[in-house]
């Protein structure tokens, strides 16, 4: 119980004083929920983009003459995957 209270106080101080905005009003003083949201949202696309580029590098190493086609498809895949992470960064701005 004491430990929880100390931890709570620690997070209160670490997360910056009252006056930090965004996040729901209930958790304002503990952690910035918008930043946490984006952090979680970036896990999947991070893995996905790594897969896309890794596979592109492998395929170009196997067959260099296909580099042009593969690179074009890589950019399309990158943008589609990236968009999920970016929806994660934009949502806290307009959902209070």
């Amino acid at each position: 119980m004491q430990l929880a209270m100390h931890l709570h106080h620690l997070l209160y101080v670490a997360a910056g004083a009252p006056g930090s905005s965004s996040g729901t009003p209930y958790w304002n003083h503990i952690i910035n929920l918008g930043a946490l949201t984006y952090g979680l949202a970036a896990i999947g696309p991070g893995i996905g983009i790594g897969l896309i580029f890794g596979n592109t590098i492998q395929s170009i190493a196997r067959q260099p003459e296909a580099a042009g086609r593969v690179t074009g498809l890589m950019w399309i895949g990158f943008a589609l995957t990236e968009s999920l992470a970016l929806i994660g960064i934009a949502v806290p701005f307009f959902i209070k």
Binding site: S21, G72, W75, I76, F78, A79, L80, E82, S83, L86, I87, I89, A90, F93, F94
Partner: protein
């Protein structure tokens, strides 16, 4: 600049007592400069009109009297049109899609010029960072591909082409059809518009953070070192923005081409 700094914080530098003037959503709200009737024209709206003007004037100058051997602006114009035709149109639709070339060229260059305004001095705002503008473009694209699909394949045929992937067993259809319908008819316009919007929003916020940090850290102490570092990072982020702007215009256009080609024939 519309950035809101507290009145007592005119000298917002490190160690001066004011907090870091962090960028917020307020930086994306602009007061209208003038109103026509009840329609207000602020900075983003005027930038949109300016980019449309630039695209129209450029292509008119390039092609109003085309020569067989291109000179000057016609060279650039031809490079642009051939890029859209060979990298975006032909791979998705083949030769018979050539009648969509004017639409796709306009879309690509309109979005790209709007995005570039995010790094042009004095302007410094990517107009697509206001959500209403990508929504308008996406509405055009959505009505286009839904209307074309219904006209060419009939309502039932187009719904079948959208929701039933070829070769799927019959027992999974009750699960698959609602998911595919939701994904292709409702989520597609949402992700198309939000992808462009969020890329421009995030890029603009990144530029704002590092530009404000350069200014804020500029104090006659260790702050100068941090400020110089922040300035270098600002330049790198601007270079990244150049890539992202062109890429997002390309992606929007190529997805439009994909959706239109999917309306003409069922996906194979």
């Amino acid at each position: 600049m519309s950035h809101v700094v507290a009145a007592s914080c005119q000298n917002a530098h490190l160690f001066s007592g004011c907090g870091f003037p962090a960028p917020s959503i307020e930086d994306f709200y602009f007061t209208p400069l003038f109103k026509i009737g009840s329609v207000g024209f602020g900075k983003p709206g005027l930038l949109l009109l300016l980019s449309a003007l630039i695209v129209i004037v450029f292509f008119w100058v390039a092609f109003h009297s085309p020569k067989l051997v291109p000179r000057g602006a016609q060279n650039l114009g031809e490079m642009g049109i051939l890029f859209v035709r060979d990298q975006i149109l032909r791979p998705q639709m083949g030769k018979k899609g050539d009648k969509w070339l004017p639409f796709l060229v306009s879309l690509f260059f309109f979005i790209w010029v709007n995005n570039i305004f995010g790094i042009i001095p004095i302007l410094y705002f990517p107009a697509m960072a206001k959500y209403g503008f990508p929504v308008a473009l996406t509405a055009i694209v959505w009505i286009l591909y839904m209307g074309l699909g219904i006209r060419h394949q009939g309502l039932g045929g187009y719904m079948k082409a959208l929701t039933v992937p070829p070769g799927s067993p019959a027992w999974i259809l009750p699960l698959l059809v609602p998911i595919e319908f939701f994904s292709n008819v409702i989520v597609r316009p949402f992700t198309l518009s939000v992808r462009l919007f969020a890329n421009m929003l995030a890029g603009h916020v990144l530029l704002l953070v590092f530009a404000l940090a350069t200014w804020y850290l500029l104090s006659l102490s260790i702050g100068i070192l941090y400020s110089a570092t922040s300035f270098v990072v600002l330049i790198l982020v601007t270079a990244l923005e150049v890539l992202v702007q062109a890429l997002q215009a390309f992606i929007f256009t190529i997805l439009t081409a994909t959706y239109i080609s999917g309306a003409y024939e069922a996906a194979h």
